[in-house]
């Protein structure tokens, strides 16, 4: 096919290059599963077409454990970790995406209980950023806000405020920014709550009681509807759409939902991990009424990773099996196996390709899901236990283990 823009006039080429450059400069990855909390890389992004050891641009040792994903603003990458015999030392790192050099580190000390199952760790929730500040949360419910230069803006000890808001297996729900509000969902068997926090001052705007049942899923922004920024809080009882400004419930899908993978939202539809996958029509769901369900796909049951959307498809992962269904009606299109066994971290997407990482051997794999089956088109074995969801920026994939952080491609 050759150069697709080769025939364009020079001035148009220059404009196109400038636009792409601007896009790349701002192609941040700001939350768990990306800036949209949907696993999608910015439009125009692509994964590396081939992977081998030379794809590793840099790797750095980490002094603490963690499952959290990196978040990226420009050329700064932020990551959390926990260290020490009880994971009580809390770390926030800022690395250069260019060469992996450490720009700064801040350490804090857990004020809440740090106990987790041995497979997870205190640094399980991913941080998030609004491009000016970084918000870092640990399982101990210590919540810290720093500016991009590492200056403390505010600190909360949420387990000091709410002494039974903990889970002895460990918490993993990531905080999510919805406009100017940081939504923190702490759903446990005992003191179960969700809190809306002023992102600038760190004070509560609202706090609501939640079902007393352990939950590790992450809130998902649903966009603006009826003049309100909605956010989906998913838990074992179902999905609640709340007004991010007040915490007031707008509607509830009370049919139960998964407590591990989170749902995904696009164009007015929330694909909830409920009875398999349930597509909820957010646009046409009236406040106070049962939301309108477009379709249910009860055989689409993701295990740990959250579902990911393609142009016209939805893909879920259970163990190492990928299942793809039509976005229109949930009808299954194909099922295929990934490489390297169970996949724990969520899958991310760029340019109609998927990127997943197997847990046991850390096989980073690029998958073409557009045909009659999922096809692994490139792979790279990192040889480490990987449980995080990858991050993506400027053509590069970022992956971390308990010991190391890698930049791959880009």
């Amino acid at each position: 096919m050759g150069d697709p823009i080769g025939t364009l006039p020079l001035i148009l080429k220059a404009i196109l290059v400038a636009l792409v450059s601007v896009g790349v400069a701002h192609a941040d990855w700001r939350q768990f599963r990306g800036s949209g909390v949907d696993g999608q890389a910015p439009a125009g992004s692509v994964f590396p077409s081939s992977l081998d050891d030379s794809s590793i641009q840099w790797k750095v040792d980490l002094p603490g454990r963690g499952l959290s994903s990196p978040v990226i603003v420009g050329e700064k990458l932020f990551l959390t970790a926990g260290s020490g015999p009880s994971q009580a030392r809390l770390h926030v790192f800022c690395f250069s995406t260019e060469d992996g050099s450490q720009i700064w580190e801040r350490q804090f000390f857990a004020t809440g209980r740090t106990m987790t199952h041995e497979k997870t760790s205190n640094a399980a929730p991913s941080p998030c950023t609004d491009g000016e500040r970084v918000y870092a949360l640990w399982s101990s419910n210590d919540l810290v806000c720093l500016d991009l230069d590492g200056n403390v803006q505010w600190i909360r000890g949420l387990m000091v405020d709410y002494p039974n808001a903990s889970n002895s297996l460990g918490l993993a729900t990531s905080p999510i920014l919805v406009g100017d509000i940081l939504v923190v969902q702490i759903e446990v068997d005992s003191q179960s709550i969700a809190v809306g926090i002023d992102k600038v001052t760190g004070t509560n705007l609202w706090k609501v009681e939640r079902e007393k049942k352990a939950n590790w899923s992450t809130p998902v922004p649903l966009g603006e509807h009826g003049g309100k920024q909605l956010v989906a809080l998913q838990g074992s009882a179902g999905v609640t759409a709340v007004d991010a400004a007040t915490g007031e419930t707008v509607w509830t899908h009370g049919e139960g939902a998964s407590t591990i993978p989170s749902g995904v939202y696009r164009d007015g539809v929330f694909y909830a991990v409920s009875n398999g996958i349930t597509a909820i029509d957010v646009v046409n769901s009236a406040p106070g009424e049962t939301p309108k369900v477009l379709w249910e796909a009860s055989t689409m049951r993701p295990k740990t990773p959250s579902p990911i959307l393609l142009d016209d498809r939805i893909v879920i992962v259970a163990g190492d099996v990928f299942t793809c269904a039509s976005l229109e009606d949930g009808e299954r299109l194909w099922k295929s196996r990934g490489e390297g066994g169970t996949i724990t971290g969520s899958v991310i997407a760029a340019g109609n390709r998927l990127c997943a990482v197997s847990e046991r051997e850390g096989i980073v794999q690029i998958i073409d899901p557009t045909g009659d089956e999922g096809k692994v088109t490139a792979k790279l074995k990192l040889g480490d236990l990987i449980q995080c969801t990858p991050a993506y920026a400027d053509g590069a994939i970022y992956v971390r283990s308990d010991k190391m952080l890698w930049k791959i491609g880009g």
Partner: protein
């Protein structure tokens, strides 16, 4: 000359002003409260402190640590920024570290700095630090001696190694280190009385089962919560008459397993009660491990409760502060088992020890010898 004096005076006033500002900024941070109260002022104060470069500022900030646990992370992180710009003097670090009245977290941070600045100087302090009241500081020093013992063992010096392990055991407070050392000593043929070492409570009176249908038992006030009467007969689950039993555990980690007393039941509640004779009035830590829902009372006052089931258990999972008076103190624990049927939900048990804030076991003056076997028996009339 007059001009020089004026400059010096101005400089002195400037320094005094800066010092006053620093004290004010520290005070601002110390006043923060729950749910983010005071965050905005603290944020400005943090930046002002972090902008300081004087070594004295570093130590002044650290001296404020330990007064408000919500403020500690503000202060420690600001101090670390000051230290990044102006590395504190090694001698000053040593002096601060060895002053045990300074807060444990501040001393932990200073030990880290000392080890990264002058590892040899830190190592020379380990003999002194292995009995340190600050757990994280003590742990580092104990680990040094465990490693020394391991090296002696690897060099074939078993007698030296055994003595080093014995010394390390005396100093160790963290469960993992105690377990490591006692396992080594057992390899050398030396039996360690782990329950006594940890301070686990081994002798209890228990009563159950009461109901916990629908997990309602956690909030239900059963008779032992109103008054412990060891000779009483109560109506328990399914209207059965139940009485207090004597329960002794021989488990090396003090596990009190209600399944041994009442069978593998579900949706039930039991209580365990003990009396702890304290040598003096003292603040203690009740350290609990439990994967069932529980409540703990000391001398009739509820200390804390938690209605979580089967999410995990470990030694010292919960650290509850309590005050013991000289003489007899009562400890009552309520332990609820839920309805779950999975294999990993069988446990209905707890382990409890009494320590000071460093994790050093506090032994009751009425503590008996460590039981050699488990015992569950009806109370004799004179015990009830």
């Amino acid at each position: 000359m007059k001009r020089i004096l004026l400059i010096l005076s101005a400089a002195a006033l400037g320094l005094a002003g800066a010092k006053a500002d620093l004290a004010g900024d520290i005070e601002t941070i110390l006043t923060i409260g729950g749910e983010g109260a005071g965050n905005e002022a603290a944020s400005k104060a943090w930046q002002a402190i972090a902008d300081a470069t004087e070594e004295a500022a570093f130590f002044e900030v650290l001296q404020a640590v330990g007064k408000n646990n919500l403020a500690d992370n503000w202060l420690l992180s600001a101090a670390s920024v000051v230290a990044e710009k102006n590395a504190p003097d090694v001698e000053a670090l040593k002096t601060f570290l060895l002053e045990t009245s300074n807060a444990p977290l501040a001393r932990e941070m200073v030990l880290d700095l000392l080890r990264s600045t002058d590892g040899e100087a830190a190592t020379k302090l380990f003999a002194q630090l292995r009995n340190d009241p600050a757990e994280p500081v003590r742990r580092v020093a104990v680990q040094f001696y465990i490693d020394e013992a391991t090296r002696s063992e690897e060099a074939g010096q078993k007698n030296v190694a055994a003595e080093q392990y014995r010394e390390a055991l005396q100093a160790a407070r963290d469960a993992d280190q105690i377990k490591t050392i006692s396992a080594k000593l057992e390899e050398f043929g030396e039996k360690v009385d782990l329950p006594k070492q940890f301070g686990f409570l081994m002798r209890w009176k228990t009563i159950g089962p009461f109901d916990n249908l629908g997990r309602a038992g956690f909030d239900t006030v059963f008779p032992p919560e109103e008054r412990v009467a060891l000779d009483a007969t109560h109506i328990g689950k399914d209207d059965a008459e139940i009485q207090w039993k004597e329960f002794e555990t021989a488990n090396p980690f003090g596990m009190v397993d209600f399944n041994k007393a009442y069978g593998m039941l579900k949706e039930v509640t039991a209580y365990a009660y003990t009396e702890f004779d304290s040598a003096e009035d003292q603040e203690v830590e009740i350290r609990l491990g439990c994967k069932n829902a529980w409540k703990v009372w000391v001398n009739g006052e509820l200390v804390f409760g938690r209605d979580e089931y089967h999410r995990g258990m470990r030694i010292d999972q919960y650290r509850l502060k309590a005050n013991f008076k000289k003489g007899l103190n009562t400890i009552l624990i309520k332990c609820c088992q839920n309805e779950q049927k999975e294999r990993w939900t069988v446990e209905w048990q707890f382990q409890m020890r009494v320590t000071d804030h460093t994790g050093t076991a506090i032994l009751a003056t009425n503590r008996g010898p460590t039981p050699e076997t488990d015992k569950v028996a009806d109370l004799k009339p004179n015990e009830a």
